[in-house]
């Protein structure tokens, strides 16, 4: 195929330079898909054809599901191939000296429109090829905890809680505050920990751009000498599993001992915050706090916001499941990353410990360090408004791009080995 060979010829010399080859793929031309990606698309499309044939003979739910997943890729690839074929055809028409003038002008026009359409098709193909995050369809929990910066961090954490609640409400995601602990002090606006539950399916995918350390630079309300302080608030977005795991896919079913997210109840220590003594009608304890400890990982979750111990226990389990699932997923990603790093020598990855965004009040700006985007209307971000949408959207694109880059890198590494 013509375009493919062009694409190769563009890529080859740059790869030889060993200068961030991944950037090169993207800057070369977005309409030109990398050969690795194209190969992948072809393989998947071939698989789809095979599965469809098999489905024609006999129906099988598993095959149907896989075919359904692959169908969009196959369709977009077909569109892409058609567009390229027509470009080739039009070009040959133009280069043919026997073509008359009228036809020539028509062909030029068609060629232009085909050229314009190609980048969008490529883009769609690229998106379709990115593997979905395993938790993408799940609701989520969002934890906010102040980091370095004392009172000021607590104050800003409170503002971030408000920001996300407003954001979720505006997007129709119905946020529920599961836990809101404030520091003992003169007022209630110093957060020490908060957890919001967003029950909408797919909320994890929307909010996972927010995991990481958020930095704030401003003159705090508590500052008397007018100095600017820098403090940090950490945000964690965790997947929220439904209470009854059996409704989930087998891979995510936490009640299934074979699942990656299974928690053995034997490994969890349950503590009531107050010890025994006479119970039942003899006493009327209002303490309902509960603490769960996952012994192998020493993960501790405590919950005391509800007046019913039963409800606290349910929520604590939900949070423990969420934390362990996220940790296990992260461990798996880390493994992959190690693999890629070994091959390529450094691929950017934002973990939960990395600073991802700065809110600078003095300059009324918000900068996301992953994408480099800066928004100069800080209020539209802190109110959970469209500014935040813009930032999150840019991060989502960045995440998709890095995912593709990593995939290409992996495929290239594999190819090199072969």
């Amino acid at each position: 195929m013509l375009v493919k060979s062009i694409c190769r010829s563009i890529l080859r010399p740059r790869l030889g330079l060993k200068l961030s080859p991944l950037r090169a793929v993207h800057t070369a031309s977005d309409s030109a898909l990398s050969p690795a990606l194209l190969t992948r698309a072809r393989l998947l499309a071939a698989e789809h054809t095979k599965l469809s044939e098999r489905l024609g003979e006999s129906f099988d739910a598993k095959t149907a599901k896989r075919a359904g997943e692959l169908a969009p890729i196959a369709n977009i690839l077909k569109e892409w191939v058609n567009a390229n074929d027509s470009i080739v055809e039009l070009k040959s028409l133009l280069s043919d000296p026997s073509t008359d003038a009228e036809l020539r002008s028509l062909a030029t026009e068609d060629l232009e429109s085909s050229h314009d359409a190609l980048p969008t098709i490529s883009d769609r193909l690229k998106k379709a090829l990115i593997p979905r995050h395993p938790f993408a369809d799940l609701p989520c929990l969002l934890e906010i905890r102040p980091g370095a910066g004392g009172d000021e961090a607590g104050l800003f954490a409170f503002e971030m809680l408000r920001m996300y609640v407003a954001f979720c409400s505006r997007r129709g995601l119905r946020p529920t505050i599961l836990k809101q602990d404030t520091e003992v002090g003169p007022s209630d606006d110093r957060l020490s920990e908060a957890v919001i539950e967003i029950e909408a399916n797919g909320a994890y995918d929307i909010l996972r751009t927010e995991s990481g350390v958020h930095r704030v630079q401003r003159v705090p309300a508590t500052e008397t000498k007018g100095r600017t302080h820098t403090s940090a608030v950490s945000v964690m977005v965790l997947p929220s599993f439904p209470e009854d795991g059996s409704e989930m896919d087998s891979a995510l079913n936490f009640e299934d001992p074979n699942s990656d997210y299974y928690i053995d109840p034997q490994e969890v220590r349950v503590e009531k915050m107050r010890a025994g003594g006479a119970g039942g009608q003899h006493v009327n304890k209002t303490e309902s706090a509960i603490r769960l400890t996952h012994i192998p990982t020493n993960t501790v979750v405590s919950m005391q916001d509800e007046r019913s111990q039963q409800a606290n226990r349910r929520k604590a389990w939900q949070m423990l499941r969420a934390r362990l699932a996220e940790a296990r997923q992260e461990a798996r990603e880390q493994e992959l990353m190690q693999l890629r790093r070994g091959i390529l020598g450094g691929v950017a990855k934002m973990g939960r410990g990395d600073k991802i965004r700065t809110y600078n009040f003095g300059q009324s700006r918000c900068t996301d360090h992953r994408t480099g985007i800066t928004i100069h209307n800080l209020d539209s971000i802190l109110d959970g408004g469209h500014g935040l949408d813009t930032v999150m959207e840019s991060v989502r694109t960045w995440m998709a791009d890095s995912e593709v880059e990593a995939m290409i890198a992996e495929d290239m590494a594999k190819a090199k080995k072969e």
């Binding site: 006479a278 039942g280 009608q281 003899h282 006493v283 009327n284």
Partner: protein
């Protein structure tokens, strides 16, 4: 008020119980979290039993409603939570809550309506659950309070007849559940019972009245269990769930059941619950004194 030990639930006016919100008022015992656990366990066992029945016999069980008697219902919390837990699994339910206190019965009815309004109960709960005033012990034969027998006779036509009908037939009661007064006079005074409970919650719901007759072959604080177990035999209850004050009392009740059971009343399994460490932990019981429910199942 709180500093004098006035219960938080009376100040706030309610207490969560499962997913329900139970209104609380002076004169009626506040629901305890342990009772919540016993109720969940009872509902779980009823569902298991129904599944087993479906597995062994092909008789269409849907024709007969699942019958539940809740003695000493107080706020009605057990009856209401059972309905919330069982309604999705049983097409027909008949839950009868019984108490001697008119104040309690008024509040129980209010709780039924309150949770219907909150949407925590299916609308059929309004007709499935009935609260009745009756004296479970029946010491005063001349009092104006109807005896428990008179109530049960209207619900179960075969009540008390000693015919040899197998217990799973039409006449049976599926669950007899109760959290009766179980504190002894001594434990009420000696500090075992918290001051807040002693001063502000109704003694009627905590300490069984002194019988005086001395006819019962059990300790004074166990007289409710004696009565309820006798009723369980007459009702041919398939499942009996009783909350006790501590594990000693629970063991006494198991022994009492063995004494009262006669050859023709059938075969039973009577156990103290929860025993398994995991069950204790899962239900938030303290390991040393948590096991104080008695669960009796009729074996076939």
């Amino acid at each position: 008020m709180r500093s004098r030990g006035y219960p938080l639930q009376y100040i706030l006016g309610d207490q969560p119980f499962g997913d329900l919100e139970i209104l609380c008022r002076r004169g009626v015992l506040i629901p305890r979290p342990e009772t919540e656990s016993y109720t969940y366990q009872a509902a779980k066992l009823l569902r298991q039993m129904a599944l087993e029945r479906k597995g062994t016999s092909n008789s269409p069980d849907q024709a007969r409603p699942l019958r539940v008697i809740d003695l000493c219902t107080g706020t009605g919390c057990i009856s209401l939570l059972l309905h919330a837990l069982l309604a999705p699994h049983f097409q027909q339910l008949e839950i009868t809550g019984v108490d001697i206190s008119p104040t309690a019965l008024g509040l129980a009815q209010e709780n039924l309506e309150h949770n219907l309004q909150l949407g925590q109960l299916a609308s059929r709960a309004g007709t499935d659950i009935r609260f009745h005033r009756a004296d479970v012990l029946g010491y005063d034969s001349d009092s104006s309070v109807p005896s428990i027998e008179s109530i049960l006779q209207t619900k179960f036509p075969n009540f008390g007849t000693l015919d040899a009908l197998p217990p799973d037939q039409e006449s049976g009661c599926d669950l007899l559940i109760s959290n009766p007064p179980y504190i002894s006079q001594r434990e009420f005074r000696n500090g075992t019972t918290a001051r807040s409970v002693r001063r502000f919650e109704p003694k009627l719901a905590l300490v069984p009245p002194y019988s005086g007759s001395g006819m019962e072959d059990c300790m004074p604080e166990d007289i409710f269990y004696h009565r309820i177990l006798t009723l369980a035999f007459k009702l041919k209850a398939k499942l009996t769930v009783l909350e006790c004050g501590d594990s000693h009392q629970a063991n006494r009740v198991v022994a009492l059941h063995k004494r009262l059971a006669s050859a023709e009343s059938g075969q039973f399994s009577a156990d103290v619950w929860p025993i398994r460490e995991q069950d204790l932990a899962d239900n938030g019981f303290h390991v040393t004194d948590g096991s104080r429910g008695v669960i009796i199942q009729t074996l076939r």
